[in-house]
């Protein structure tokens, strides 16, 4: 394995770092959702909907990073 291929692998690995902040953010959102259900149990299904929508919108950070990693590996590494 020459240096070029190794550098491509390092680049692809670095671009997945965007998932780090997604994990923290979505965990915080889930904690706040559980607290809100504790305060107001009859709004549980609305809170569940908003939690899912909010988490999926915030997940786009991780998705973009993973997409770039796939493009680097499959297009540059071929």
């Amino acid at each position: 394995m020459d240096v070029g291929t190794g550098l491509i692998a390092i680049g692809a690995g670095l671009s997945v770092f965007t998932g780090f902040s997604t994990g923290i953010g979505q965990g915080y959102a889930a904690a706040k959702a559980v607290e809100a259900v504790g305060k107001n149990p009859e709004a549980a299904s609305q809170i569940r909907t908003m939690l899912i929508v909010g988490c999926a919108v915030a997940e786009t950070c991780a998705i973009y990073g993973m997409l770039i990693a796939f493009i680097i590996v499959f297009v540059l590494g071929a």
Binding site: V53, A56, E59, I63
Partner: protein, 234 residues
């Protein structure tokens, strides 16, 4: 002069989804014609009524009341098509939403609907004036803000389904390697038996759960963006 024509595998999957939806439409139509409205619904008629009612309730909570009647069928179409396309990985096909062209088309239809409703409800003068608010140099960020829903919705759906499919293929090839390793002890390679045991859990997450969530996100964001542009109900 040679013509190079590549037909991607997702075209076949699109045909499968379309044939399935058309066959279900004919079947449900025949059941509905023989259905007496005063009796209790059973079976396929019950499923169809339940689906229409769920989508109607969802649309009613987000969009203004006067717009629900014309928007709910589009949301229902998106819901059925996207859910069937996303879970097609379960049956061994490449899901159609794994191709960026399909997701870009769906997002482009939604984007044209958003801009058209903004212009129709508020007038084109107010639409163009909105680009220059609050001060003049804000034109460029406002233009990017208008294009952002198109790019983000298409890439979100594409990225999720593509990555699920790639991870499934990596899992299957790892399982076949393990199977060859184990069966090599007894002599010869053969059936990929580890994959049959391990893969269903991953299919349940990547295909069913993620497919449903991504469809739900797509239609929720469609409704939220459209209802943001319309005028409020008095």
């Amino acid at each position: 002069m040679t013509i190079h024509l590549t037909v991607q595998k997702e075209v076949l999957s699109l045909l499968v989804v379309a044939v399935f939806i058309i066959a279900m439409c004919f079947l449900i139509n025949r059941r509905l014609k023989a259905f007496d409205p005063l009796s209790k619904p059973r079976g396929l008629v019950l499923a169809a009524l339940w689906l229409v009612e769920m989508i109607d309730d969802q649309v009613r909570t987000i969009v203004q009341e006067r717009f629900v009647k014309s928007l709910a069928p589009y949301i229902g179409t998106l819901c059925i098509f996207l859910f069937l396309s996303n879970i097609l990985g379960l049956f061994g096909f490449n899901p159609p939403t794994m191709n960026y062209s399909v997701t870009l088309t769906m997002a482009a239809i939604t984007w044209v609907m958003i801009q058209f409703n903004a212009i129709r409800d508020n007038g084109i003068g107010s639409y163009i004036h909105g680009f220059f608010e609050p001060i003049f140099p804000f034109v460029i960020p406002n233009i990017f803000g208008k294009i952002a829903p198109l790019i983000s919705m298409s890439i979100r759906l594409f990225g999720n389904i593509l990555s699920g499919s790639i991870i499934m293929s990596v899992i299957y090839s790892g399982c076949s390697f393990l199977s060859d390793l184990v069966l090599g002890l007894f002599g010869g390679s053969g059936f990929n038996f580890v994959g049959v045991v391990v893969a269903p859990f991953f299919h349940a997450y990547f295909d069913l759960f993620a497919g449903f969530i991504q469809m739900f996100i797509f239609i929720s964001l469609t409704m939220v963006f459209i209802s943001n542009e319309l005028k409020e109900d008095e």
